[in-house]
Symmetry: C2
Subunit: 175 residues, 2 copies
């Protein structure tokens, strides 16, 4: 799929058929995430890919707004090794880096004909702890988000979110 | 360009020819950024596109690691209207959203045959203030980063950053 098409037509998908996705495709999504830039090129990204039905169910129990995981049937957790990231947990460089990686995962899913939806873990401590405990993630690894991944029904249509009033040339101009 | 190719072969570009880019292409980059997801779909993104030579020079004066702006000759600032973003400046949802938007800009640049390099403003207050003052950005709008955009010389070659040890299946496993 053409890059600009993927970027402009990607949207959060919450309606899934419930079909399974092969591990090759899931690994491609993690590979796409890992290609994101990281501050000082520290490459602190970790990806936990979940395709076990019981773990998916357990994840949804502690994450509000995550019911689509049950029909998506797969999840990718984007996380940072804070002992490696520039500034560790004391700056939010790790957040910026992991968010860029998450966007890569969403776009790669779109390119593969899959659907994806980003659910926040960080900065909500109770959600971070729930993800950590469910997947046995150690203390130095902090999950940013849980991305539901599945086969879309096609009911979620692309939307044009462009608003030219949010673009300024060379200096700010109030619209 | 194919989406997965753009994602996997994109890299930070710091070597530019100094050639100019048309405003249509620059606007496409902002459009790509605006297509990123935002927490609660608040669409709080703002993009300031700089192609004025004097402003580019002034931007570099207050931003370390930004000398490539001088040969890139163009910059896109990704910013958030904190009065609109979910949680305002009190959570870092705006950071996550703007970082996803920035990644879209980088990928769209790659797809158009351009080169781009992300330079952080936030969370460094002195850099945020320098960008704000240089471009007359009001208080409620917070710049996340300054992206240098230009025509690449071709000397910056793609790198494979994939490390399978950073992928876990269904639960954490120490490598």
């Amino acid at each position: 799929m053409d890059t600009l098409t993927a970027i402009l037509e990607r949207r959060s998908i919450r309606k899934f058929t419930g079909k399974s996705i092969g591990r090759d495709d899931l690994l491609t999504l993690a590979k796409a995430g890992m290609a994101a830039p990281s501050s000082r090129d520290t490459r602190h990204f970790h990806f936990i890919i979940v395709d076990d039905e019981q773990l998916i169910e357990k994840l949804t129990e502690g994450l509000p707004y995550s019911k689509m995981l049950l029909t998506a049937k797969h999840a990718i957790i984007v996380a940072s090794d804070l002992s490696v990231a520039h500034g560790g947990g004391d700056t939010d460089y790790w957040v910026q880096d992991c968010a860029a990686a998450a966007e890569n995962v969403l776009l790669a899913a779109k390119a593969l004909g899959l659907g994806a939806c980003w659910t926040a873990a960080h900065p909500r401590e109770e959600r971070v702890e729930h993800v950590r405990e469910t997947l046995s993630i150690p203390e130095n690894i902090r999950p940013l988000c849980v991305i539901a991944v599945g086969v879309p029904t096609g009911d979620d249509k692309p939307r044009d979110k462009f608003d030219e009033a949010h673009v300024a040339w060379n200096a700010w101009s109030a619209e």
